[in-house]
Amino acid sequence: MNNRRGVLTVIGALVALAIIAPFTSSYAIILITHALIFAILAMSVDLLLGYTGLPSMGQAAYLGMGAYLTAILATQFDFGLGWSFWVVVGLGILVGAATAAFFGLFAIRATGVYFLMITLALGMCVWGLAYRWNSLTGGDNGINLPPRPQFGIALANDVTYFYLVLGFFVASLALLYVLVKSPFGRSLEGIRERELRMRLLGYNTWLHKYIAFVIAGGFGGLAGVLWAHMNGLVSPEDVILTTSVDALLMVVLGGPGTLVGGAIGAGVVVFLREYLATIVPWWQYVLGGVYILTILYLPGGLMGIPERIRRRRALSGSPEQAGKLEATSH
């Protein structure tokens, strides 16, 4: 995708969103906020999947760690409800990254389907603890949080909270963009393409993957902090396997390796689960269908559609155009 134009388009879309959102209904705005939080999680999954080639099936665990930390600090220590909210944000990122640092020691040695399996198991461990460690996590009751923090501005206002989440989303997107465009990011893509070659070139691929994993965990933790205050409730249901699988779908549907694709995918999946589900009883068929059709027919995800249309147009046009296209694409 043409970089400059792409960046401008994204910025334009974000500005449009920021302007329009407060004028939508009070329900639409919490749906959008919900989607933005999961967009952060999805982008962290994209860092791993799209850029590093690591299909992690347990990223919901880091969202869970951030969310539970926020809830426990708010209820048991009365912490994080004023300016200290920003400290909790930092702690949430840290706990996500630290958990990933610990889990990564087990997981990063594996590749492909084995990586999938072990991240699945790790995610289930977190779920198991959330569900059974009653005294800490409230078990299946979960933890009810006090009203959203207030520090000059009242986050209890849904529009205000939307802007806060949007801000975090933009910051995450920007940081991740800088990261993937950096030499480190390029090395990750190299590992995705041909890990052996990278190793032969002298790269410590294990360390690269590990760092990416930790960073993704950090963003997951951030999403968790925001998620805890979204609904005012943290529950083991937030860290079930389906959440991790949904995050993967968001990336695959949106387009792996595009960052923004994850955000778009998040929007679609949240729309399906939260809105379509309330309109029609057969929404789960649609969800299943989206999974299946995306895999079969949209290898590049939604973000890959313009490219495919372009290719088809070029191929149906002149041979020189087709040749030019082949030369410029990767």
């Binding site: 388009t9 209904s25 329900y27 009751n141 979960g142």
Partner: protein, 422 residues
């Protein structure tokens, strides 16, 4: 040229998003004589049939009165909470913000009740808890939830008289097997308190997780010197436990919480549950004309005997109707509605019901025993929960007095403590 396609695609996507946002924004206008009721029930997942029972119960009453409460046309919106508290919260938000419901009700699990109550406070909307039995909603935490009215029951409410009944039967030592979550703790806690107060002893507490289907690990640990076994099962668990207990050769008397033998699961059970006794504020085998009519009507319409899930929502619908009669079919606003609902006295299908000052029902508690027989004029022999004793006017505090009761902590895994467990 390369940017054009991207640009066009992006513009189309933005347009689509805008259309969606606007579409979501157009909320229905509030008509003067319209009552919008949001209903949360599990329609998918392991509790899917319970969810159906819940909404069917409400719908039956609605159909009886022609969809109209004293002049107010009732719009009944059912949303799937999947048996998960966070989904319940999100769907409640949708019902309140998008559908602008006047009140929302339902939810199944006690944990969902604890999650929905804060929503009612935050969005200042009435929540009628027709099923969630979480004790503290109308006890120690009731001040936090001024918009909550409970029309079903509190978890420990039937357990208190049941504990007394157990003493009367001569049971001295009882082992407990109960689902490991708040509802389980509260049902067991109430039973333990009353049972130990009249001289009984709980000698063991086993807590299989909610959703357990293989009780193999737990049954062999049951103490051999128990006089009886108290079981609290919910949903599909209720179906498996009695079978596996019998297969393991345990022949002791079995008693349990109401959900262990409720009519939701009773038709799928076999002869292994005959003679099991439970306690609840409803039984489909209540032998009076009002209930017989209700059971026959429900069965004819939905093909199943009504469970307490059905009755509770049917009676709640009736209560709401009674309130609307007093306001001439006009929604009186949240606070007034709660005030009026709290004063309702009804001769319901389950018997006489009224609400106490914490907005929890005071009602009959029936001790019921599973028997195989013909009932209400149906031709076949089936399993029914025959009522063998009635405790009238049972409130959530039983004989303890509100102040004294509230001083003790909420029933939990460790409260009351298991003094006689080894």
């Amino acid at each position: 040229m390369s940017g054009k396609t991207t640009g066009r695609f992006t513009r189309m996507s933005l347009a689509a998003c805008l259309a969606f946002a606007v579409g979501v924004s157009t909320a229905p206008a509030t008509a003067a004589e319209e009552l919008r009721i949001g209903f949360l029930a599990p329609l998918t997942g392991g509790f899917a049939q319970i969810g159906k029972d819940m909404s069917n119960g409400f719908q039956l009453y609605l159909d009886e009165v022609g969809g109209n409460f004293a002049g107010a046309k009732v719009t009944f919106i059912v949303e799937d909470e999947e048996g998960k508290p966070p989904v319940g919260v999100r769907k409640a938000e949708k019902l309140i913000r998008q559908d602008k419901v006047h009140l929302f009700m339902g939810g199944l699990l006690a944990s969902t009740g604890y999650a929905l109550a804060p929503v009612s406070t935050r969005l200042k909307t009435v929540y009628v808890a027709s099923i969630p039995a979480a004790d503290d909603l109308t006890q120690r935490e009731s001040e936090k939830y001024p918009y909550v009215v409970r029309t079903g029951w509190s978890s420990s409410q039937p357990s208190h008289p049941f504990g007394e009944w157990a003493c009367e039967q001569g049971y001295k030592r009882i082992a407990v097997v109960a689902a490991d979550y708040a509802f389980g703790y509260e049902v067991v806690g109430g039973f333990q308190k009353a049972f130990e107060d009249c001289g009984g002893r709980i000698i063991q507490k086993i807590w299989p997780p909610l959703g357990t289907n293989d009780f193999g690990p737990f049954i062999p640990t049951l103490k051999k010197d128990a006089d009886a076994i108290f079981t609290l099962m919910v949903g599909p668990m209720a179906l498996q436990f009695p079978k596996q207990l019998l297969a393991a050769g345990i022949k002791k008397p079995v008693i349990g919480g109401g959900t262990s033998y409720d009519e939701y699961v009773l038709p799928s059970m076999g002869d292994e549950v005959i003679g099991h006794v439970s306690a609840l504020q409803y039984s489909a085998a209540l032998d009076n004309p009002k209930n017989a009519a209700f059971v026959k009507k429900y069965r004819e319409k939905y093909g199943k005997v009504p469970s307490y899930y059905s009755e509770s929502n049917y009676t709640t619908a009736q209560m709401i109707h009674e309130v609307m009669k007093q306001t001439g079919g006009k929604w009186p606003g949240a606070t007034k509605f709660i005030e009026l609902l709290s004063k309702i006295k009804l001769d319901a299908v389950r018997g006489p019901v009224q609400l106490d000052e914490m907005r929890n029902p005071v009602q009959n508690i029936y001790i019921k025993k599973v028997e195989k027989k013909k009932m209400h004029g149906f031709a076949q022999d089936e399993l029914w929960n025959t009522v063998i004793k009635t405790y009238p006017n049972v409130g959530q505090f039983w004989k303890y007095g509100k102040a004294e009761f509230l001083k003790q902590p909420v029933y939990s895994r460790d409260y009351p403590p298991c003094k006689y467990c080894d």
